[in-house]
Symmetry: D3
Subunit: 136 residues, 6 copies
């Protein structure tokens, strides 16, 4: 009996989209105002979905308190109130698009979860722009 459980978290960060192999003009053409050299920022909302079987002793797939703390340690402590381009190792050589942030969050959490659990991460960059990754 496979059930999915989800914990929702948030982090607020600055970022800038640009490709260092592009000219300034090319970055402006591809990324528009998202390439502002002085950065802009977002309230990122993260949905972390974990699918597995219910433990009959606890009624839990995973204790959501444990999942909440894992998200705090792996994601919030790393990215909250940070400049993704300047303050993190993950985006030193990776453009911090919503797609890439979502995949990085998935990888950071995947490494810490029991291998029997299936993980999906959904990231809201704004109310109208969303990304999801399941490791496919």
């Amino acid at each position: 009996m496979a059930v999915s459980v989800c914990r929702i978290a948030h982090f607020n960060a600055a970022h800038r989209l640009f490709n260092p192999t592009f000219s300034d003009h090319e970055n402006e053409r591809v990324f528009g105002k998202c390439s502002n050299p002085n950065y802009h920022g977002h309230n990122y909302k993260l949905e972390v979905w974990v699918k597995g079987t219910i433990d009959p002793v606890t009624g839990y797939v995973i204790d959501l308190k444990v999942l909440k703390e894992l998200i705090e340690t792996e994601i919030e402590d790393r990215f909250d109130h940070k400049n993704l381009n300047l303050d993190t190792t993950e985006f030193k050589n990776l453009i911090p698009t919503a797609e890439n942030i979502c995949v990085v969050c998935w990888q950071l959490l995947r490494d810490k979860l029991d291998s029997g659990l299936i993980l999906t991460v959904r990231l809201y960059e704004t109310e109208r722009n969303v990304v999801e990754y399941s490791g496919d």
Copy 2:
């Protein structure tokens, strides 16, 4: 042509997480403040997704008025403004975690739906804790 339709409903209930085979100390250690002997409660939000083919005569997969009434009869009348531990038969011997509540809602609705329809139930226990079950 398989389309999913969803009706959203709510019920407000008290519950307590505890395993009768645990000591008080063990219940406190595993379930924390959720094991408060005097109960606490939630506004549960339920998304009921039904997948099937569109009837060309009506343009419906299922009449959402019918689905709404089914949720009222099977779920809301049973659980709304109730104590899940004390007032229901379903959780007499089953810990009312969000996972188990979601599976029970799925089973109650599954019994009443045409077998050609695929059912998924998503349950929000809080704004940040969610569970989903599809019968896998």
Copy 3:
């Protein structure tokens, strides 16, 4: 590495549910107040999900500005502030249920998207009634 990205859009439209082969009485019986001959209306909310691989040069699956413009051209310009029954060709001979509107939006967008991208459309007719279609 397959990632899904989503852009959310809105359109406000009038419609009426009725089957021209039904008697007035039959339309009233099947569609209830949704068959009001003078129409009623909704704020439709549309989630357009596109799944594909991340382009390493841009970090994008699809530029969301491009997807936003595609939704404006194909969906909003066609349906926003319109009467779906009277002002559109798509619903001249198709009952504008949420199911059919969702499938039509999927088809309009599918025709314009690269064939390597997987498309899912989710349509909220109200806060509590939702439909989703993935082309299955």
Copy 4:
């Protein structure tokens, strides 16, 4: 001790903005796509706020079940799944802008409420357009 209580309700309606003393061209210039002759529509969300003293016997300012039924009788039965221009007496000679709909809802509820209660009505025409009236 003056406390405000609020009940939230919804109605879905078609409407059209136009002034019969205007030319078609003038209606188009002033109201834009909102003057589409075939109508468009909205999910209207209504917040009804009632301010008064708490009855120490019940702990209520007003029983929200009573307020809910009053909104159903006075507002929902009148406007839900209707064409505001064609199906109502209130907007036969009054342009159904969000402002005027809000004032009309306030007047309909004001007539039925105890004169000791202060009434405020807030109307959401879309997620981003809102109107409020307090009888000033």
Copy 5:
């Protein structure tokens, strides 16, 4: 220059509406299913608004981290995951309607805030039932 700032918090609690001077039948008549003897519960959402002047040295009316901690100490520690009727002193002799809970939260916070600040508390008992109190 008077600016209002708001911090939003949550607590999940069980409660029951009943007046001990009423007969069972009278409690049932007045409070309906809210008087279930075994309790039900809610996710309460609390908006705490504080109005005052901006300190030019910090740009703050009040440090929202301080306000957040005050709400945790005064409200969440007291009411979260509790049975309001059984586990609190505040509702031993006061019916825990949304109105009374809102006024009690206001009083608890008012005692701890600088007297130069104006306080308003808004409490959501459900998505559709809300209460507000400003000390009038």
Copy 6:
């Protein structure tokens, strides 16, 4: 007959809280992680409320299309996808707390609105932190 109308808008920006007359240690003590020298960011949501009388010719207090364009010109073009500390003149010598951003938005809009209209601006910095200013 005084009615309030509201238009909701958004802008995404980077910022940093610090007082240049403070030591680094003092900035860290007062502003915590909000003083990160490399900035962080938010999705700011802005509610612009305008109160006035309904024009009987149009049924409008103010044409919301006009208000929407005013917010775009005065607020979004100035602050969206910007670093508030580095890219704006308004916050060169003013700490960009939510309080100060709200007051600045109010002032920018106040200058462009008819003096007969009353203006209130509400700013959401996150889902849980909100500020409101009415010019008092």
